[in-house]
């Protein structure tokens, strides 16, 4: 697990030992006595960054020497010019490294997760829920990325692969329920705490990794470059995605799928550093083909989204008819765990959506005991899915958190509703990718590029 550790840390010089990170940690990884600096148990921590979101203790200029603050910024992988305060709980940063790689000149391809476009505006004074896909594409282009692509494309691709895998399992080709594998904090938890149930995880790589794999194969082919020369960057709402990119198995022919992961906050810092006025940018489209997406791909950013996207496609694959209503509100929202059923071709299909890792254990115990009659489970570690991820702009005042998360969520649903194409299998560029490159879902090429084996942590 080289390089995967220590993405999330607590600075004992700054931590006041208030213990509030302990209250939000979904897996009980924070230890410490109130009033003394806390610490994180690395063997339990799933790197979700919820503690980073919660922590309000920051380095005061009254207590810290400015030189020491500059040193801490370097250690954290921040630009020294960054004006934001340094909080006790923090995640490692990659923005200066990405900026220097871009300055060196390389063939760069960037992808951007759905939740980022619903939150990055907050870093530039826009209200919560400001939806900025066009400005985001323009901003990435201004930073000098050669290809500005989108994780949403790979989310659509995930639905094709994961949906086909689910149907195959329903025909008896694998154990049920099948669990989603797009949240790396959840995957980490399953690997650490329930290794005996790993065959229940979908073998799909997450959209981030699928996108990276497609960049360095199909994408490189389209641009006529050697995959080894492609610098693949992901912009994510998530801190655990940094570790995911470094997992064993997330490579192809010795080429890493993703070379660097930036959080939403780090991208904002890069834009400030480059003096790009985000709010004043024009709307520009993402590049094609790997930046085109459906509404279904876009709602991956919130809890219930993967499930809703999967059902829109699965219903059609099973019944041969489009789903009667695109908006499957019964899998939406909800804290904790939500169960739902859907009838397809006379068969009852049972699903569950888990938001917040602390709610998954009873379900896993039931699977272990053989008493779980669910077919498909979506698990997201963060309380409202990725819109509330550890790498999103920080909402410092706890009473504002629900309001801000609700606004970000509404923004992603609004985006879905506004798009003409709202089902993953109808994304014409995804269809073209299968026609020209992958063949068919779960085929030989997709198997080697888009699937992996979970459980290789130690």
């Amino acid at each position: 697990m080289n390089g995967q550790q220590n993405v999330i840390r607590i600075d004992s010089d700054i931590c006041t030992g208030c213990g509030r990170c302990k209250d939000v940690c979904p897996v009980g990884a924070v230890e410490g006595v109130q009033g003394t600096p806390h610490s994180i148990r690395e063997d339990v921590c799933v790197l979700c960054g919820q503690c980073v979101q919660q922590c309000s203790a920051f380095a005061s200029f009254y207590e810290q020497h400015p030189a020491c603050i500059a040193e801490k910024k370097r250690e954290r992988g921040l630009f020294v010019s960054e004006a934001a305060p340094l909080f006790a709980a923090w995640h490692t940063g990659d923005a200066p490294r990405v900026a220097s790689r871009l300055a060196e000149g390389c063939h760069s391809m960037v992808q951007c997760a759905p939740a980022v476009r619903a939150a990055i505006g907050e870093e530039f004074g826009m209200p919560a829920g400001a939806l900025t896909p066009g400005r985001l594409a323009a901003a990435l282009r201004r930073l000098g990325f050669d290809r500005v692509y989108d994780t949403n494309f790979a989310a659509d691709l995930t639905i094709m692969e994961e949906g086909s895998e689910l149907l195959q399992r329903m025909e008896g080709a694998g154990p049920l329920p099948m669990f989603t594998s797009c949240c790396p904090a959840w995957v980490r938890y399953a690997e650490q705490q329930f290794p005996d149930l790993l065959e229940h995880l979908s073998s799909c790589k997450s959209p981030q990794q699928m996108a990276g794999a497609v960049f360095k194969s199909y994408g490189a082919q389209l641009d006529g470059v050697d995959p080894r020369q492609v610098f693949s960057v992901a912009v994510m709402p998530c801190t655990c995605k940094k570790a995911e990119a470094q997992r064993p198995g997330m490579e192809h022919d010795g080429v890493r799928d993703v070379d660097a992961v930036l959080t939403t906050g780090e991208l904002a810092a890069m834009l400030r550093q480059a003096h790009i006025d985000f709010a004043a940018l024009p709307d520009e489209p993402f590049d094609r083909p790997l930046g085109s997406y459906s509404g279904a791909g876009n709602i991956f950013g919130l809890t219930g989204g993967v499930m809703e996207a999967a059902l829109r496609t699965a219903y059609e694959l099973v019944t041969g008819e489009p789903v009667p209503c695109t908006e499957l509100v019964y899998v939406r929202g909800g804290e904790g765990i939500r169960h739902a059923t859907l009838t397809m071709d006379g068969r009852t299909f049972r699903v569950a959506v888990v938001a917040g890792l602390q709610h998954v254990r009873p379900l896993l115990e039931a699977v272990r005991a053989g008493t779980c009659d669910v077919n498909f489970v979506e698990v997201m570690c963060c309380p409202q899915g990725c819109i509330s991820g550890g790498g999103q702009p920080k909402v410092l005042l706890p009473f504002q958190r629900d309001e801000v998360y609700a606004a970000r969520k509404a923004a992603l649903y609004r985006h879905d509703a506004e798009l003409a194409c709202r089902k993953s299998h109808e994304n014409p560029q995804v269809q073209a990718l299968y026609r020209e490159f992958l063949g068919e879902p779960l085929g030989h090429v997709s198997h080697s590029l888009l699937h992996t084996v979970y459980g290789q942590t130690r």
Partner: protein, 164 residues
């Protein structure tokens, strides 16, 4: 309205005697006494210095104190017109530091610390007592009213109907 202390930047000579006196009062120990220099130096007001001006800044004892409103533990309360921290309840989370508009509250040793007008000190506020330039004023509701009457009488305050 609560009473609060404010300093006049035109008078302040930037000597920082107020910080030292405050720290000593907070520690209950004189820094000039033998061994006093090892006392924890934790003043509850801060001398802010810019090229053109110096001024000590401390808690304004806001009537609707934002620090009290944000505190997740209810550790900050109004006690007889003074915004007061209950150290026993405080968990040192620093939310109050974020909320305070004048930067007058800090977390030291895991507990919030702020000016509480030296209510436990018979001589009154230590900063006022030591300031050689007499820059501090203890503002009370009566002081403000009296000042308003004075300014009106001197024609310094336009009548309400004369404002644009």
């Amino acid at each position: 309205m609560n009473a609060f202390i404010v300093a006049d930047p035109h008078r302040c000579i930037g000597c920082a005697a107020c910080e030292v006196a405050c720290a000593a009062a907070a520690a209950g120990q004189s820094v000039f006494a033998p061994g006093g220099q090892s006392a924890v130096f934790s003043p509850r007001l801060h001398l802010v210095a810019e090229a053109a001006v110096t001024a000590p800044v401390q808690c304004r004892q806001c009537a609707d104190a934002p620090c009290a409103a944000i505190c997740p533990r209810g550790a900050i309360r109004m006690a007889e017109g003074v915004v007061t921290v209950d150290s026993g309840l405080c968990i040192g989370c620093k939310m109050c530091m974020v909320a305070c508009p004048v930067g007058a509250i800090e977390v030291r040793g895991g507990r919030a610390s702020k000016c509480q007008l030296c209510t436990d000190r018979p001589e009154g506020p230590a900063c006022m007592q030591v300031c050689p330039a007499e820059a501090f004023t203890l503002v009370r509701a009566q002081t403000l009213r009296a000042e308003l009457v004075r300014r009106r009488a001197a024609g310094l305050c336009p009548a309400a109907d004369a404002r644009p």
